[in-house]
C-alpha cells in the first residue's frame, strides 16, 4: 500500500537524477530522515546477526536424507525427519497402500478451490461441480464403492483430517450461522433470546472447552448404547463453535442493509421469507464474504486444537513422529515444516480475501 502511494507521487514530481535509481530509492525509502536512518541501521544489524546463522543451520549444515542416528551426530538441521515420515505426517493411519486416495482427494479440493477463486466462474454449474467434487472426495476417503476398499473414518488423519474438519466445518456452520443471525434480528422475543444466549455463550468460551465437552461429556448425553464417532463429535463441536462467529459476521451484513431495501421489498408484496431469500440475504452475504474467509482461516488454524483430545490431525501426527526414539529432539524442524504448510494455506486464503474485498468494493 505504501509503495503505490510512493510511486505515484514520484511520477508526478519528475525527480532529479540523484533521487532515482538505487541511490534515490535508498535515500527515499531508508534514509529519508535521521530517525529513519538509525532505524535502518539497527534493523540491518539485527538481520545481520540472525539471518546468516539461521541459514547455516537450515541449509549449510543440514541433512536432508539420512537416518535419525546420523542426524544426532550432525550439528545442523535434520530435515530428514520429514521425508522419512512424510506419509504418516500427511495421512496418519490411512492404509499405507491406498494413500493415493486422500492425496487425490486433496488435489481435487485444492483444484476446486482454485477454480472457484475467479468470480466469473460463480455460476450454477460451479455449485454442481462442488457437489460432485465433494461426493468424489467422500468416496475416495471412505471407499466401499467401485472396487475401492472401505476405510473407516477412525483411520482418517493428517492433512485430510485438518482440511475436512475446517472446510466441512465451515460449510455446515454457514447455514446454521445465517439462521442464528436472522434469529438474533427477529422480532419474536423467545427466538431472539435463544439465539442471543447461544451466540454469546459460545463466543464467550474457548474452543478447547467445547472440544473437551464433545470428547468427554457428550457421550453421557446419549441414551445407553448409542455412540457417535470421535471425529464426528469434534466436527460437531467445531461446527457449533464456528456458527456463532458466522452469525455475528452475517449480522454485520444484515445491519449494513439500508432500511429502504426492506421497505421496497415489502411494497412489492414480498413476505418475510421472500424478502430475505430474494432481496436481503443475497446482498448481505455478498458483503460478508471477506470476513467469512477470515473465519475460514481461523477455523483452519483452530482445528489444530484437536491435538488436545488426541485426534490425529497434522499436528498430532507430527508429535507422534517426534515421540519416536529415533527422531526425538528434532521438533524445530518438524514444527517449521508444518508451520509452513499452515502458512501457505492461510496466506493464500487471506490474500484471496483481500483481493476479493477490493473487487467487491469496486462492483458494489
Amino acid at each position: 500500500m505504501n509503495e503505490d502511494y510512493r510511486t505515484t507521487e514520484s511520477e508526478k514530481l519528475k525527480p532529479p537524477v540523484t533521487s532515482v535509481g538505487v541511490i534515490g530509492w535508498l535515500k527515499g525509502n531508508l534514509f529519508n530522515s535521521w530517525f529513519n536512518s538509525v532505524l535502518t541501521i539497527v534493523t540491518l544489524y539485527f538481520l545481520w546477526i540472525t539471518v546468516p546463522s539461521f541459514i547455516r543451520w537450515a541449509f549449510v549444515d543440514s541433512l536432508w536424507i539420512s537416518t535419525g542416528a546420523e542426524c544426532h551426530q550432525a550439528g545442523g538441521a535434520c530435515w530428514s525427519i520429514i521425508p522419512a515420515n512424510i506419509r504418516f505426517i500427511l495421512f496418519g493411519f490411512f492404509p499405507y497402500e491406498s494413500q493415493w486416495r486422500p492425496l487425490l482427494a486433496m488435489i481435487l479440493l485444492v483444484g476446486l478451490l482454485y477454480y472457484s477463486q475467479n468470480r466469473n466462474h460463480w455460476k450454477k454449474s460451479l455449485a454442481y461441480a462442488w457437489i460432485l467434487g465433494l461426493f468424489i472426495m467422500g468416496l475416495l476417503m471412505k471407499g466401499g464403492l467401485f472396487g475401492l476398499d472401505s476405510v473407516e473414518s477412525t483411520q482418517w488423519g493428517g492433512l485430510p483430517l485438518t482440511l475436512l474438519l475446517s472446510v466441512f466445518g465451515l460449510t455446515a456452520a454457514y447455514p446454521l450461522g445465517v439462521v442464528l443471525a436472522l434469529g438474533r434480528q427477529s422480532k419474536m422475543p423467545a427466538i431472539k433470546t435463544v439465539c442471543v444466549i447461544y451466540i454469546e455463550l459460545i463466543r464467550g468460551v474457548p474452543l478447547i472447552t467445547l472440544l473437551f465437552m464433545s470428547s468427554v461429556v457428550f457421550p453421557l448425553f446419549l441414551p445407553e448404547g448409542i455412540t457417535v464417532n470421535k471425529i464426528l463429535r469434534a466436527q460437531a463441536a467445531i461446527i457449533l463453535f464456528t456458527a456463532a462467529y458466522i452469525a455475528e459476521v452475517v449480522r454485520g451484513g444484515l445491519q449494513g442493509m439500508s432500511k429502504g431495501q426492506y421497505e421496497a421489498a415489502e411494497s412489492l408484496g414480498l413476505n418475510y421469507h421472500q424478502t430475505m431469500r430474494l432481496v436481503i440475504l443475497p446482498q448481505a452475504l455478498k458483503i460478508v464474504i471477506p470476513p467469512t474467509v477470515s473465519i475460514l482461516i481461523s477455523a483452519f488454524k483452530d482445528t489444530s486444537l484437536v491435538v488436545i483430545i488426541a485426534l490425529y490431525d497434522i499436528l498430532k501426527t507430527t508429535q507422534s513422529v517426534l515421540s519416536d526414539p529415533k527422531w526425538m529432539g528434532f521438533s524445530a524442524e518438524a514444527y517449521i515444516f508444518i508451520a509452513l504448510i499452515y502458512f501457505v494455506c492461510c496466506f493464500s486464503m487471506s490474500n484471496y480475501s483481500r483481493r476479493l474485498e477490493k473487487e467487491l468494493d469496486r462492483s458494489l
Binding site: 535502518t40 436472522l182 419474536m188 464467550g204 448425553f221 514444527y335 499452515y342
Partner: protein, 398 residues
C-alpha cells in the same frame, strides 16, 4: 423460519382471517413450538445423562471441592500445597489464568501498537519487516507457536548452575528468569499508600486543569506535574522511612535459586506465544484505526497551531480509538480464551488444573461446566468494561 414477525399488516386485515394466517398469532405459535422443541430436547438430554450416571455409578455433585486435592501445582500466586482442597487448587488456576491474560493484554496492546505504527512507517525496511511479521504470525496456529517457543526456551537457556547473569541480581536460566527484589520492609506499605494518594491527587489535578482551561483558556502542564507527583511522593516517603536499600538477592542453593522472584519458562513461553500471535492482529487493528483518520485532520490541526503531542492527543487518538476499540476488545477476549492452551505446555492455568481435577475425581461434567462458567465470566466482564469505555470515548464525538 418463514413466519417471523408480520405485525404491520395485521390490523388492516378483515376479522375473518383464519388462525394460521394471522401473523401475530402465528408468531406466538411458532415461538411456543420452538420453545417446546428446545424444552423436549433439554429434557431428553438431561434424562439420558442422569440415567447414564446412575447406571455407570459415576460420582456426581460438587462435594469433591471440599476434598484434599493431593496434587502439587508448579506456580501459584497464593500459598498452596497438596494438602489443600480442590477448591483452592481451582482458585490457583483461576488466578494463574487471570495474571497471564492481564499481563498478556497489556503487552499485546503495546507491541501491537508499535508494530501497527511500524507498518505505516516511511522507512521501507521497517514497514516491510512489520508486514512480514504480521503475515507470518497471523497465519500459524497459536498452539504450534506455543510448542515452538517453549522448546526454544528450555533448549537454549543454561541450567541454574551456569546461569546467564546479564546484570547484578538478574539470572536467566532454563528454570526461568530470577531477579532480586527489595527485602520486605514496613516502609513499603507507606510507599504504596503514597503512590495511591498520588493517583488521587493527579486525578483531581487533571479535572481542575481541564475546568480552568475551559474557563480561562490557560493551559496547565498536567503531564509534567502528574509525573512529578506520581514519582515524587513515593520517593519522599521512601527517604523519610530511612531509605531502606536491602535487596532480596537470589542465591543458588541445592537445585535452584532461593529468594528473589522467579518467572517460570512455562509462563514466559505462554505469554510470549500469546502476545506475539495476538499482537499481529492488534497491529492490523491499529493500522486500520490510524488510516481511518484522514490526513486532512492532521493538517487542519497543524494549521490551528497545535503541537504534535496535542495533535495526537486531541485530534487523532479520539477518532482512531473509536475505530480501534471494538475489534481490540475481541482480540483481548481471544487472548484470554487462547490462554487455555497453556495445558499443552505445562503452565498450570485454570483449564490445566480443572483437567487434573477431572482426572482425579472422574467428574468430567462438573469440571467442564466450571471451565465454561469461568471463561464466560471473564469474557462478559471484559466486554462489559470495554463497552463502557467505548461509550465513554464515543461521547467525545458530538
Amino acid at each position: 423460519m418463514p413466519e417471523i414477525g408480520k405485525d404491520k399488516t395485521a390490523d388492516s386485515l378483515p376479522e375473518a382471517v383464519p388462525f394460521f394466517n394471522d401473523p401475530a398469532k402465528r408468531a406466538i405459535l411458532f415461538q411456543l413450538s420452538a420453545m417446546l422443541i428446545f424444552g423436549l430436547l433439554g429434557y431428553y438430554l438431561i434424562t439420558n445423562t442422569l440415567a447414564n450416571l446412575e447406571r455407570q455409578a459415576i460420582a456426581t455433585g460438587l462435594g469433591f471441592l471440599e476434598k484434599e486435592s493431593s496434587f502439587e501445582i508448579g506456580e501459584s500466586l497464593i500459598s498452596y500445597s497438596a494438602a489443600d482442597t480442590y477448591a483452592r487448587a481451582l482458585l490457583v488456576g483461576v488466578l494463574n489464568t487471570l495474571i497471564v491474560s492481564f499481563v498478556g493484554i497489556i503487552l499485546t496492546v503495546i507491541l501491537g501498537t508499535f508494530i501497527g505504527v511500524a507498518r505505516l512507517s516511511t522507512n521501507w525496511l521497517v514497514s516491510r519487516i512489520a508486514a512480514v511479521y504480521i503475515e507470518v504470525f497471523q497465519d500459524i496456529p497459536v498452539l504450534l507457536q506455543l510448542f515452538f517457543w517453549y522448546a526454544i526456551f528450555y533448549e537454549l537457556l543454561p541450567s541454574p548452575k551456569e546461569a546467564f547473569n546479564p546484570i547484578a541480581g538478574v539470572f536467566l536460566t532454563n528454570r526461568g528468569l530470577v531477579f532480586a527484589i527489595p527485602e520486605a520492609h514496613p516502609a513499603h506499605k507507606y510507599i504504596a499508600v503514597a503512590f495511591f494518594s498520588g493517583c488521587v491527587l493527579v486525578y483531581l489535578l487533571r479535572r481542575w486543569a481541564k475546568r480552568r482551561q475551559e474557563k480561562t483558556g490557560r493551559l496547565f502542564p498536567v503531564f509534567r506535574v502528574s509525573a512529578g507527583i506520581l514519582l515524587g511522593l513515593p520517593v519522599i516517603t521512601w527517604w523519610l522511612a530511612g531509605a531502606p536499600i536491602a535487596m532480596d538477592v537470589p542465591v543458588l542453593s541445592g537445585f535452584n535459586f532461593k529468594g528473589g522472584v522467579n518467572i517460570s519458562p512455562e509462563f514466559t513461553a505462554l505469554l510470549l506465544g500469546l502476545v506475539l500471535y495476538t499482537a499481529a492482529f492488534v497491529a492490523e487493528v491499529v493500522r486500520a484505526g490510524i488510516q481511518s483518520v484522514s490526513h486532512g485532520q492532521t493538517e487542519a490541526a497543524m494549521s490551528m497551531g497545535l503541537k504534535s503531542g496535542q495533535i495526537l492527543n486531541l485530534v487523532i487518538l479520539p477518532q482512531a480509538l473509536r475505530v480501534i476499540i471494538p475489534p481490540l476488545t475481541s482480540q483481548m477476549l481471544n487472548l484470554t480464551k487462547n490462554s487455555s492452551l497453556a495445558v499443552a505446555i505445562g503452565y498450570p492455568d485454570f483449564v490445566s488444573v480443572a483437567g487434573t481435577t477431572i482426572n482425579q475425581t472422574g467428574q468430567a461434567m462438573e469440571g467442564i461446566a466450571m471451565m465454561m462458567v469461568v471463561y464466560l465470566f471473564f469474557s462478559l466482564t471484559t466486554s462489559a468494561f470495554m463497552n463502557w469505555y467505548n461509550k465513554k470515548i464515543a461521547l467525545v464525538e458530538r
